[in-house]
């Protein structure tokens, strides 16, 4: 053959990168005087050893599915959306508006409203950078970073000066009415008689995330819009030749991306906190980058990468709880994963390619 097969590029390269990242993380744990094996054990039992752990792992994974899909779809259009934080922040605002505006008779209706509003708010926050990129050529990476900060300031203002109920000290919105509270996995699985730990935050949003996976897959690989997004992402010039409008595609891709980021807030704001907090996004927008990189921008890959990060998050929380290893270990692992699967990709790919080339030649 002499050429690197597709599966190697799609699976082997990220897997090797991941292993390198984890080995280095293990070294970091050793360096701070802890036992990496022990740490891994705690993480695994804490995150996967009980339905309680799974409840948290899935809760975090839900966030990362949304933000990972958001980054992935932008990647397909050749755009790097690092504004997930800001878009999810605005999505949270959408959820709060949806839940506080009208008295909803049932959670399902409230869910529908918050899905619509969070997506709309997130998309709106992505629209400005998208428009500036499409029409004015402003670098979308920089504008989305700026919009993250602007979103934080905006939410800060709203929570402190507008949405905070009288007499409450912390900057947060009022609690949402109980009717808007989403059923958690304990409740939902209970309907089918399956036991699941009570009090974990994993909730019905998980299924919204799974639907989003399927929807994104269908959009990218089955619709004309997806076809155009992929074409534009591969070659802007060719896209113009084919009559695909760069402005339109940039806008659509970013609007979908922003909407997906915004949807994340349904999980955190409505599914977990039941009120809008100052920083409910907590870096999930950035983790979306790692998830999309690892998942090779494919919804299936994104799903598994999100699970992995959900595991890391919950495992990391358990580590912080039961050992002296600070939770920041997860930040380091996350950094290494992004570094090796995203930026130092070629460090793995090039030698691998050579290996395949050599084995191909040798075989001939």
């Amino acid at each position: 053959m002499g050429r690197m097969p597709k599966w190697a590029d799609a699976v082997l390269v990220p897997l090797l990168s991941l292993i390198i990242a984890f080995v280095i993380s293990g070294l970091v744990i050793l360096a701070i005087g802890e036992d990496p094996v022990e740490a891994l054990k705690i993480m695994v039992t804490g995150a996967l050893g009980s339905t309680y752990g799974w409840g948290y792992t899935l809760y975090y994974a839900t966030n990362f599915i949304f933000t990972g899909l958001a980054v992935a779809i932008a990647f397909h259009a050749g755009l790097f959306n690092i504004g997930g934080e800001g878009q999810a922040t605005l999505g949270g605002l959408g959820v709060a508006v949806a839940c506080l505006m009208l008295p909803w008779p049932h959670w399902s209706l409230a869910l529908l409203a918050s899905v619509v509003l969070s997506a709309a708010f997130g998309a709106a926050w992505a629209a400005a950078p998208a428009w500036l990129q499409a029409k004015r050529g402003s670098h979308i990476v920089i504008t989305t970073i700026m919009f993250n900060f602007i979103a934080a300031a905006l939410l800060n203002y709203l929570l402190v000066n507008v949405m905070r109920p009288r007499g409450q000290m912390d900057p947060a919105s009022a609690r949402f009415p109980a009717e808007t509270n989403l059923p958690d996995l304990h409740q939902m699985l209970g309907w089918f008689g399956i036991p699941f730990a009570k009090g974990t935050p994993a909730n019905v949003s998980l299924f919204v995330a799974l639907i989003a996976c399927v929807a994104v897959w269908a959009i990218i690989w089955r619709t004309r819009l997806g076809y155009e997004i992929r074409s534009f992402g591969k070659s802007e010039k060719a896209a113009i030749y084919a009559g695909i409008s760069p402005v339109r595609i940039t806008m659509y891709a970013m609007l979908i991306s922003g909407a997906l980021s915004g949807l994340m807030a349904v999980n955190t704001v409505q599914g977990e906190a039941n009120r809008l907090l100052l920083n409910s996004v907590e870096g999930a927008g950035f983790i979306g980058i790692a998830v999309a990189l690892m998942g090779r921008s494919h919804p299936v890959g994104v799903f598994f990468a999100a699970l992995l990060f959900g595991f890391l998050y919950q495992g990391g929380a358990e580590l912080a709880l039961w050992t002296k290893i600070p939770r920041e270990l997860i930040t380091v692992i996350q950094a290494l994963v992004i570094l090796f699967t995203g930026a130092l990709d070629d460090m793995v790919r090039v030698p691998l390619k050579r290996l395949f080339l050599a084995s191909g030649r040798g075989g001939q």
């Binding site: 402003s138 920041e328 570094l339």
Partner: protein, 321 residues
């Protein structure tokens, strides 16, 4: 607002603009050479940590400074490795470096000092003290000029003066020297530099190293001059404001000074006034805080003076596909 208050705010502006200026000039070198750097924040953070940690351990702020520069250089080297040698995505590498710094500082800080990521407070020789310029005392009573000299110009730490001196120095280096010519060329068209017999890789690594050193200065200033010790996430987005200032300054040293002073002023004002009453409208502090970012977006949009980044910026130099 009286004269004394204005002097005070400007004095505070100079202090707060200094880390921005150092980081902004740092970014200028890297980006002018065609290597985008959104990891200024991370390099500053790790430098702030390393210098505070070393200063706390040795009691010498100068050793702290060296440690800060060294730590920042390590991350700069990593960025170089990813974006120059392995031709990776420079933006992704920058994101990774920010996370790495944010995690490592707490991890190591907790391991060494057990103070939840903080370093011990620095005192005496472990900190950069303000320098009183000659005659500051005797000129002080002179109206207008006196306060300007003795309070605004005098009385800052050495790094403030270094940062300001770096502006003309950078302008000179960039536009008047061989290194500057090659650096700018490599950011515009690396193939031109390559075929002229100059190593693109060499120039870019040199630029990235300068970025590392300057971010080291910026970080050290934060933890050993502006504050007296390191606290987790103490850069708090300053690296991104510096990046914004760099764009605002259209990648030019003198403009960078102006942009950083403007952003420093905004910070000084937002610290002092929770909201500004303009009579017809109240400006909330959150707006003042977001203003640097808003201004940058406006500039990027090209409605007032378009900012054109170095043409080869963000692209790894690839000869053979």
């Amino acid at each position: 607002m009286d004269f004394a208050t204005i002097i005070q705010i400007l004095d505070s502006t100079v202090r707060l603009a200094t880390p921005l200026l150092l980081a902004c000039l740092a970014g200028l070198y890297s980006e002018r050479s065609g290597v985008f750097d959104i990891g200024l924040e991370g390099k500053m953070l790790i430098a702030a940590f390393a210098s505070a940690a070393a200063a706390a351990a040795t009691g010498s702020v100068w050793l702290g400074l060296l440690a800060g520069i060294f730590a920042s250089l390590m991350l700069a080297g990593l960025h170089g490795l990813a974006s120059i040698t392995f031709r990776g995505n420079q933006l992704i590498s920058g994101v990774a470096i920010n996370f790495l710094a944010s995690g490592l500082t707490v991890l190591l800080g907790q391991k060494w000092f057990g103070l939840g990521g903080r370093t011990p407070s620095l005192e005496g020789a472990a900190r950069f003290e303000p320098i009183t310029l000659p005659f500051a005392g005797s000129i002080a009573p002179v109206p207008v000029l006196g306060p300007i000299y003795s309070e605004l110009i005098s009385g800052h730490s050495i790094l403030v003066y270094v940062a300001i001196a770096l502006v003309p120095a950078s302008a000179w280096l960039l536009y008047r020297t061989r290194f500057g010519l090659r650096l700018r060329a490599v950011g515009e068209n690396p193939a031109a530099v390559d075929t002229a017999g100059v190593s693109v890789t060499g120039i870019r690594y040199a630029a990235v190293a300068i970025t590392g050193i300057l971010c080291g200065l910026a970080g050290a200033y934060l933890s050993t001059a502006l504050a007296a010790g390191f606290g987790r996430e103490m850069t708090a987005g300053k690296g991104f404001i510096a990046l914004a200032a760099l764009i605002f300054a259209k990648w030019r040293p003198w403009y960078a000074l102006a942009a950083c002073m403007l952003f420093g002023l905004l910070e000084a004002v937002s610290i002092r006034y929770q909201s500004i009453d303009l009579g017809f409208v109240m400006i909330p502090v959150q707006f003042t805080q977001a203003l640097p970012y808003i201004l940058t977006v406006v500039i990027l949009a090209g409605f007032i003076g378009k900012a054109v980044p170095p043409r080869a910026g963000g692209e790894p130099y690839v000869k053979e596909r």
